[in-house]
């Protein structure tokens, strides 16, 4: 059947070079799937014309759910009947993306039978993305995936599928159990995940330490990043071993500390921990000698997003340190307060970070009953949003005006 594939000179360009190619993958799938074959033809036409040929299917879904399916139809159904319907399904991935090969085969079997066979492991939110199926296949797929204990993920104006780094399951730097928190939040907020009721999407991402392997600080509305509040653990013998083996500790470790809070006297490293910003640099460079402290928890940040409707934002610190202990009630209560305010006052398609920019961080924190603390301020006198009322005398403003 390979010779029956459409001619695709434009797409073929994307097969060149040493990197993986989605064109190569679609061609492989096209040998077995008419849907993938027509996808090739449609894409080639789009590349030639510089026009997209997809229509948005806004009503496509499974019974009872408002998220998890992204409806697509082509506007050339007669020419490419295989992609007349080409809906995407987002499937909630297991925390940390752990699978058995057996379960992956079963998911792929379902998808080859009922969809295009094309997958994207994983989407930017973290879900398993199954690309291309027909409306009448959605309910059977949902049922069959349910029998494997898989559920749909989020899409639309809802909680998007929470995701995390592998945390304590594999990584010695994890300061809390990211997978447990991810599982817990996913279960707690099932209603918000499947039944969109927000002004726009809301993403949770959990990283076990400030290395932030899931880029939560840039890509989630709420970032929960592991940290510690005591002193970095130092093994001075291991420090000397690094030095003996030729590491230039002054240049590569001390010299790159962003808060300049380290020193090395040729034998021992010393750290002024009150100035350490927990960036992980020194620990990453000398993993045998340095470790995060023992009093561990997380920093909670709010408001990042990729540039879709407005520009990109990074998260801001709202809780500098919190112990991460089940059932994480303090966090859940805070999340509910944030959602209440955002749902009440947020505009359509306004992410929580944009909402904060509009109403002002000070007002936002006050309305959400979040205490203002100095750790929220990146640099003294640079952040305009914090207003310490208890240090403000009524006359201060008048004096300034008069003066």
């Amino acid at each position: 059947m390979a010779d029956a594939l459409p001619k695709t000179p434009m797409l073929d360009e994307l097969e060149k070079g040493p990197w993986p190619s989605f064109v190569k993958e679609i061609k492989m799938a096209a040998k077995r799937s008419p849907m993938s074959k027509d996808l090739l033809g449609l894409l080639e036409q789009s590349y030639n014309e510089k026009i997209g040929h997809w229509k948005h299917g806004g009503i496509v879904g499974v019974m009872g759910y408002g998220g998890g399916i992204i409806g697509r139809y082509t506007d050339l159904p007669e020419k490419y009947p295989g992609v007349s319907h080409f809906h995407t399904m987002r499937i909630n991935q297991p925390a940390g993306w752990y699978y058995t090969s057996d379960i992956l085969r079963k998911i792929c079997d379902i998808w080859e039978k009922r969809g295009s066979g094309l997958t994207n492991m994983h989407g930017s939110t973290g879900d398993i993305i199954l690309l291309g199926t027909r409306t009448e296949e959605l309910e059977p797929i949902f049922k069959e995936l349910g029998e494997l204990d898989f559920d749909l993920g989020g899409s639309g104006s809802d909680v998007r599928t929470p995701s995390c780094c592998c945390g304590m399951s594999r990584c010695e730097w994890a300061c809390y159990d990211t997978m447990a928190v991810t599982y817990d939040l996913t279960q707690t907020f099932q209603d918000e995940l499947h039944r969109p009721a927000f002004p726009y999407k809301f993403k949770f991402k959990m990283s076990g330490c400030p290395n932030d392997c899931v880029a939560s600080i840039a890509r989630s509305d709420m970032s929960i990043i592991g940290t510690w509040r005591d002193e970095i653990q130092i093994d001075q013998d291991a420090v000397r071993e690094y030095a003996d083996k030729g590491m230039n500790i002054m240049r590569d470790v001390v010299g790159n500390c962003p808060s300049k809070c380290m020193d090395f006297d040729g034998k021992e490293i010393s750290i002024e921990n009150s100035y350490c910003v927990r960036c992980m640099h020194c620990i990453n460079v000398m993993p045998k000698a340095l470790r995060p402290g023992k009093d561990r928890g997380a920093t909670i940040l709010l408001g990042s997003k990729a540039p879709i409707v407005e520009g990109a934002l990074l998260s801001s610190v709202i809780i500098p340190f919190i112990k991460m202990e089940p059932p994480y009630q303090e966090i859940k209560d805070m999340v509910e307060r944030i959602w209440d305010l955002w749902c009440e006052e947020g505009k359509a398609r306004e992410r929580v970070g944009e909402f904060i920019q509009r109403v002002g961080m000070g007002n936002f924190l006050e309305e959400c009953e979040i205490d203002i603390v100095p750790e929220m301020v990146a640099h003294p006198r640079e952040n305009p949003y914090v207003f310490y009322e208890e240090f403000y005398e009524e006359d201060d403003g008048d004096d300034e005006e008069e003066g």
Partner: protein, 80 residues
Amino acid sequence: MKTVDEIADAMFKMVSDATGLKKLKPTDLSKAMIETFGDDCDKKLCKAAIRELVNSGKLVYTYFGGSFLELPHREGAAND
């Protein structure tokens, strides 16, 4: 306090009346219910009513740049 069914009926009427005129978001419905019924209604009740309407198939979620609740219908973009 109103019952889930009473709130669901009021929400359904609101969506039916708005069909063809305005797409309503779940929060539009909840806000309207709380405004109409005051202390006899709260957010939890509204959530339960929406769940009932959607699970019974009387309303469906739709997505057009934001998520809405609508009467089930065949959308213009659909192919056979």
